[in-house]
Amino acid sequence: MKEIKDLVVPDNLSYTDAHEWMDKEAVPSRMGITDYAQDQLGDVVFVELPEPGTRLEKGEVCATVESVKAVSEIYMPVSGTVSAVNTELEDRPELVNSSPYGDGWILEITADDPAALLSLMDHGAYLDMLKGL
């Protein structure tokens, strides 16, 4: 298990309390799960992805990440349309573990309201949340 000090929490991303990250600068915006989430889940062995073009509300399930431990649901951080999915994960789900903020990204979302991203946590708030767990 990683210690808090060993967890990677990039300062240019936004975070949810479900341990997802979202790129707040790019449009459409990439999202995935955090280093903490992948460490807790253990080996990711399967990722179920939605059809690109699907429109989902904030909080709706947009993907599932299956690890040796459990099948975990990934929720939409903001309302919007899935504009792309990381098809590389079909053959290499382990990228979620080895590169959670890079090649292990899960979806790209075009937010209905780009301002909704401002409601997410910044890296400082997310780190504080992790310290409280």
Binding site: M1, D39, Q40, G42, D43, V45, F46, T64, E66, V68, K69, A70, V71, E73, N97
Partner: protein
């Protein structure tokens, strides 16, 4: 039960190895190490894995009524349990069975080791030492039997996988002599040192009990030693085994390996319901035709009566690696009817499916173009008898998977292979 979470003597070492820890049976134990559960599972199929199993409980019984006490409580008939000829349990041999209550429900499963005449060790699950000791004591009042719970005095490390023999050869003081006659379900040595059974020593003179058993379905050993020696035993094995691919393994790999090997987890696959109609009927002392038992034991009448009425437990295998959550809320659909519950559902990372045939990464006949990613598998408990091949749908409310009942799971398991063949 003790509400304070316990740690084994190897706990600090697990943290140093970067283990992800979790509560299991009242102990904080490694779920997986930095290699990850998948690599750990595969290491046991292709090389060897090493498990801290010091959380298991150990009870010793001694005295002239020991055997009759076991015969009256343990589900296996100790007079007919060893080898293909069903010979009596003898010193240096062990047997698998369960302890039932009067209703035939399982208190726990156990391995009984015969050290010598009137002297046995009983290995039960984590947290069960006190309960089984109590059970044995209750039924031995007025008898010549002393029951002792050795749990906190014993350390245990399992080395499992095809290279386990080669690794043990490196650390045992006289491996050729110890390995000379050592079939499956036999053991050498007695770490308690107050029995007269043959001694088994590591090169540094540490006394151990070396057992050709395990909980993975693969060739290997369980090593018992004094608690104060277990860190040294772990280090010796690690030094000798790491160059050969020996990998520390956590409980996640242990769970997926044992499921693929068709072995039950006590209090999950067997438990507070009658111990009949399941893949482990060999643990009951049936006579030919399964109409009677070869001995009387606690729960026998209830078990015989339950054969017609009790639940049926079957192994299943999925179509790919996707699993569902096990538990009482997960439905087992046979057509339109929900007929039971899922006891265990895990992914055996070493299995793959092609044209309806299940292969292991170690199957000699594995098709070359088959990429093995793992298969979901486990046990369901249903309200009726069913045949292998029957398709079911398991539904945990979030996901449905199609599975097939099967008589066996991971092929090409090595547990029963001759030791000599595994040293070649």
């Amino acid at each position: 039960m003790d509400s304070v979470i316990k740690k084994t003597a190897l706990h600090a070492g697990h943290l140093e190895l970067g283990a992800h820890m979790a509560d299991f049976g009242g102990y904080e134990m490694p779920l997986w190490y930095t290699a990850g559960a998948r690599a750990e599972h595969l290491s046991v199929l292709t090389a060897a894995g090493m498990f801290d199993t010091s959380h298991m409980a150990l009870i010793r019984i001694r005295g002239e009524d020991s055997r009759s006490l076991l015969q009256g409580l343990f589900s296996k008939d100790l007079d007919h349990c060893t080898g293909p000829k069903a010979l009596p349990l003898a010193p240096g041999r062990c047997a698998y069975g369960v302890f039932c209550d009067v209703s035939g429900h399982v208190l726990d499963d156990a391995l009984v080791y015969m050290l010598e005449k009137d002297h046995y060790l009983i290995v039960v699950n984590a947290g069960m030492g006190g309960i089984i000791k109590e059970h044995l004591s209750l039924f031995s009042e007025g008898e010549h039997v002393a029951v002792e719970d050795l749990t906190d005095r014993v350390g245990k490390v399992d080395v499992q996988g095809p290279l386990a023999g080669k690794i043990l050869s490196e650390v045992l003081k006289d491996a050729p002599a110890l390995f000379a006659a050592m079939p499956y379900f036999s053991f050498k040595g007695d770490w308690t040192l107050d029995g007269s059974s043959a001694r088994c020593l590591l090169k540094d003179e540490t006394p151990i009990l070396l057992s050709r058993t395990g909980y993975t379905g693969e060739f290997g050993f369980e090593i018992f030693c004094a608690m104060e020696d277990v860190s040294r035993v772990w280090s010796l094995l690690s030094e000798a085994g790491t160059p050969l691919g020996l990998t520390p393994c956590g409980l996640a790999a242990r769970d997926s390996l044992r499921t693929g090997a068709l072995l039950p987890l006590s209090h999950q696959d067997i438990g507070d319901w009658p111990f009949v109609n399941h893949p482990w009927m060999f643990a009951l002392p049936f006579t030919e035709g399964r109409k009677s038992f070869s001995k009387g034991f606690l729960g026998d009448e209830a078990l015989m009566a339950a054969m017609e009425t009790a639940f049926h437990t079957f192994a299943f295998v999925g179509k790919d690696l996707r699993k569902v959550a096990a538990g009482p809320d997960t439905a087992v659909w046979l057509g339109q009817e929900n007929i039971g519950r899922v006891l265990t559902c895990v992914t055996d990372m070493g299995m793959g499916l092609k044209d309806g045939v299940v292969y292991s990464i170690t199957s000699p006949d594995k098709p070359e173009d088959l990429v093995i990613k793992g298969l979901a598998c486990g046990f369901v408990r249903v309200d009726r008898p069913l045949a292998p091949g029957i398709p079911l749908v398991l539904d945990d409310g979030k996901r449905k998977i199609s599975v097939t009942l099967t008589a066996d799971l991971r092929p090409a398991r090595t547990a029963r292979k001759a030791l000599s063949a595994m040293l070649a």
